[in-house]
Amino acid sequence: MCGINQDPEPSGTGDGTGTGTNAVFTALLEDSVEELYESAPCGYLSTLMDGTIAKINTTLLGWLGMDRETVVGRLRFADLLTVGGKLYHETHFAPLLRMRGEISGIALEMKVTGGGRLPVLISSVVKHGSEGEPLLIRTTVFDASDRRTYEEELLRRKQEAEQARAEAERARAEAEQARRQAEADRAQLADALAVLQQSLLPASLPLVPGLETAVHYHTASANRLGGDFYDLFPIDDTRWGFFLGDVCGKGPEAAALTSLTRYTLRAAAFHDPEPAVALTTLNSVLHDRYTATGDPRYCTAVFGIVEPGAEHDQATVRLASGGHPPALIVRAGGQVDSLPTPGGMLVGVLPTAPFTTAEATLAAGDTLLLYTDGLTEARTGPTRKNLYGEEALYAFVAARAPSAPQEVITALTGLLGSFGDGLDDDTALLAFGVPAARPHTLPATDHLR
């Protein structure tokens, strides 16, 4: 029609609305109202209030594959729907249409002859009579196949997203569960380690009449069992046994060795508390158990007997060393002596090993210190390359001499702390001495961590 205007503009006519143009349109289209209805691009149908179909257009009949004769006056609107649609029609569609007189855009499915289904969008309106009574229902039906496909796609994606979310939630919950379980396991393990740790060392030192005692144990790692050991125990009415040492390696294997060592020394002491004999017994036990079976392991240890005098003004010490750093004695006068035991061999490696014995007497105010090499092997200095060393230890102790056992231990505990992460090995410190002032015993201290 573009650009062609054969119709002369009506002039002189009253309204000048271009009715001539309309006539051209209508003539060209050759559409009767009938044709508009029957061949519309949508389906039309009209029903009585009970649903009986009174009129239906050709388009809809064509979509459904049905004849007019089969439908008009014989079927109800609901009969054209699938079963689910019928249910929806009765429970939602019809009530809403009754109450509001109209309903639009409802998605349903109609049955196609031959077994197919046509997704449709339905709009209906009630025609009322002159007194407002409902007469009939006019319904328009739109083919919604593409729209339905799109909806189903959206729905499917929504369901997939929902599923993915639920699975992610499940995975998260499982991970959370696993994490909590791992946390519980770790806590349980830490508890077990702590209990084991406790069993490797005495809970506290006994009260020794005539002696002051002090001890400190430092664990390098909270999760590793200790490799150092010590003990102080009565042998008889006048004598007390003591030992301190260091097993090779770390972890549960070292702990097993610690345990064996401690109980072997305790048992040996009751049999014969002579220090070199006790160490010899230990050497045989460890050698037979480990080295002889192709798994060399060893410990270094000092074993000794201390006998406080009856007046509590002195004590004699007799000890033997198996490859262990020498004991220090901090004298009441301020000097520091070592108690060397040259020639001692580490315990457990050779079938027979020499152990050197030494003796000392502690006077009032003297303190004897035993330590493991975690202390002297600590890395110091700005580059952490230097080891603290024995000389430094001697100087440290000497600067604070004379010192009672607890004072020595406290000072050395502070020193250990000052090493920070330069201290990466367990360290045991045991000190005992004759009280300087009144001859009364101070309570034994529990070992600190």
Partner: protein, 109 residues
């Protein structure tokens, strides 16, 4: 802490195992395993060159003792060469200076 590197070579008198880095709890097993893989014949000499050893703890000493056992079982000798000062000090305290043969460097071993 340096990781451990172990290299080996053969000489007319026997294998030489060179230890570089830290011989500690985490790495000592590697030395043990390496040594135990060596085939030693009676009369041979295993040299463990410690010139580049940076650190040695009780686990390291255990590894050296195991090497000694392996050598002895094969009827061979073991020599530690190039032992650093710190390690020598420790070996002395525990009495192993009288158990191991110690030489200043690998060449004269």
């Amino acid at each position: 802490m340096s990781p451990l590197t172990i290299t080996g070579r053969d000489t007319t008198t026997g294998p030489v195992v060179e230890v570089v880095g830290d011989l500690d709890y985490a790495h000592a097993t590697a030395l043990r395993q390496q040594v135990e893989r060596l085939t030693l014949r009676p009369g041979q000499r295993l040299v463990v060159d410690l010139a580049s050893l940076e650190f040695c703890d009780s686990s390291g000493i255990t590894a050296l003792l195991a090497a000694r056992q392996h050598a002895q079982a094969a009827g061979a000798d073991i020599v530690l060469s190039g032992v650093p000062t710190n390690t020598l000090r420790v070996l002395t305290i525990v009495g192993l200076d009288r158990v191991f043969t110690i030489r200043p460097d690998a060449a004269t071993a």
